[in-house]
Amino acid sequence: MNYVSSLPIIAIITPFIGAFLIGAISSNKKLLPAMKGIAIVSSLVSLVSLLFLTKPILLEGKVATYWLGNWMPQEQMAIGIGLEVDSFGLFTGLIITFSSFLSSIYSVTYMKEDNALDKYYTLFLLLLGSMIGFVLTGDLFNMYVMLEIMTFAAISLTAFRNNIYKSLEAGFKYIVIGSLGSTLILLGTVLIYAQTATLNMAQISALIHNNYTPVTILALAFMMAGYGVKAFLVPCHTWPPDAHMSAPSSVSMLLSGVMSKTGIYGFVRLLYMIFFSVGMAKMELLIILWGTLTMIVGASMAIIQTDFKRLLAFSSVSQIGYIIVAFGVGLSSKSSIGVLGTLGGLYHMINHASFKCLLFMCAGAVLHATGTTDITKLGGLSKKMPYTTILFLIAAFSISGLPPFNGFVSKWMIYQATYEAGYAPVTIIALIVSVFTLAYMMKLAQSVFFGELPKKLEEVKEVPLTMSITMGVFALACLVEGLFPKIISKYLLEPAAYSIYNLHNYIDVMFTKGFAEKMFKNKIPIPNMTYEMAGYWRPEAWFVLFIVILIGFIIGVGISLNFVKKNNIDTTCNFGDKYGVFTGGEKEEFAPIAGGDLFWGLRHNLKGYFGFLEKAHSGVVNDYVTWVISCTAVLSIYLFAVL
């Protein structure tokens, strides 16, 4: 028993202790600086204790276990709750703690004008602690409990600025959809318990390995839908745009950049560990199709948004689609391609966390300086906030996958993996979505940072130092991940991917050596991890990709411009009177064509498609529930049909 074995529980418990300490001293308003200090220090302690774990786990490939209350397994049954930290869990935990630590620093300035800050920091630390607890635990029911703390803290933080109508509405939608997702997950857990009579994940995966019964299939369908809600996969993605748009930016970056990773974590644990489905072509197809749908819908919705943060939230949905596609390819039976897909997915996870946090921080900086995130009211901020503009451009290029930024590397791996796995249409769709990403990021840049500066915004100042430093750290992360992919891959991704496939070791460490072999007769082969499989270093490939993106972009803009020239716009469509200027209508006296209207022609051209999507995002909470339930029903039909 050395200090290393206690580190996971320290990482989990410290934020909670911090939260309660803040709660205990909250009655004294003079102690507000102390509360901020507690928040920063607790998140730092979690980060540091996870960093100490990197040496044994990431580098030496060990798996740390910690049985709470010393309830070691007896008679091969896990009677207590065990924490199990493998490389994948630690990898996700590092993303979480790193971003949360920076967010806690960012909050100090960003949130200083709100009241009830004691409760803000309490909820912030509860959110952080529960996220770490979620990724480090090895118990199925404990995952659900941590997920609930996470959901509740996130909802409360979403509705924190309750003077704005939208945060309340978003909070309500979030609680309905979010707790529906949690309920589905709990239902799956109960069904699994009924089948296996245990709650430990390692034991469950040993017991139901290749042993699907109707009970476990239904459980799988429920849990997939539940984690789909948490990771915003498409029919269940309706809450994040609302929530991310209305939460304070220091929280939306966590919700969007980090909490989605916990959903993906659950998804991966479900598919690769609890229901070991590597090599099942039908499962692979389902996940890839689901991810592709998510990609397309997210990007199409993002292109028609007029709110900075809402656009970013839809862009998150689309990027999550990439990650899910990559993990879908990872299920492939051809191991070398599967590994490439998994590596790409992991890489995109860490990349998405860095650039999406940075983008939300930029949105927060704009909101902090001007008081709005509506891009039709903004413009020309590059003169007033040059530093933010540069950081925004870095993040925008990263997210749209331009070399040499980090998004390029991971997207390239995903393209190659999907292509080699025989899903060439998916590769093409992924490329097109990437073009769309660049397009809406340009729209955002044009309408917020370039163009004309409105008169109201002339007193705007650059954001304070604490905010800009944290933003700079994320921008640096984007650059580092883009320039040194070999190092990142060797020390972070390959151990994590290895642990995802190494189910044997996961089970053996939790119980006794040889436990897994007794359970399933044939040993699961662990594919070779070689980073050389990703061919991103080929310069001609870079060039071809860049040309493809450029042509796509030009075509996209061309369609819209071409359309504007034609002058035959249907005025009956209710996109607002603003566009009357195109047709000579004189309803609005002064209606400038701002950057936000950049792709209005495209939108008008494809109004059947976009109209359908808008109708689907109707804002009525009942409809959203219907989408989630239909998704569950479709999943259960599919899984019952193929398994």
Binding site: E169, S179, N622
Partner: protein, 114 residues
């Protein structure tokens, strides 16, 4: 315990139906608590064994008596608390929504859309 399982699933599906079709926000929350109730019922029923006794070692335990499964009961306690918390949080949101929107009709509380 077939009838318990079926009853629990029916209660859950009725709750889902409320969430999908009723327009009053308070009713939606009632639907959520109904789903939770059904889930709790399912959870406890999973652990039941016909003829078992409550899992407490009382002194006058008959010889040969056996317990029902205590683990699902412990899980249900957690689940009940979480259900109550969901209701409390959702209802406080409804109170505030009422203040801002002047209505609690789901068709009118939809300023965030598209």
């Amino acid at each position: 315990m077939l009838i318990n399982y079926i009853g629990a699933f029916i209660v859950m599906i009725l709750g889902l139906y409320i969430m999908m079709s009723k327009k009053n926000l308070i009713k939606i929350v009632i639907g959520m608590s109904l789903v939770d109730s059904g889930l709790n019922l399912l959870l406890v029923s999973v652990g039941f064994r016909p003829g078992g006794t409550a899992p407490i070692f009382i002194t006058d335990l008959k010889p040969g008596a056996f317990f029902v499964d205590p683990v699902p009961q412990a899980l249900t306690l957690t689940s009940i608390v979480i259900g109550a918390c969901v209701s409390a949080l959702a209802l406080s949101l409804i109170i505030k929504i009422q203040e801002k929107y002047g209505t609690i009709d789901a068709d009118k509380v939809r300023r965030l859309r598209g």
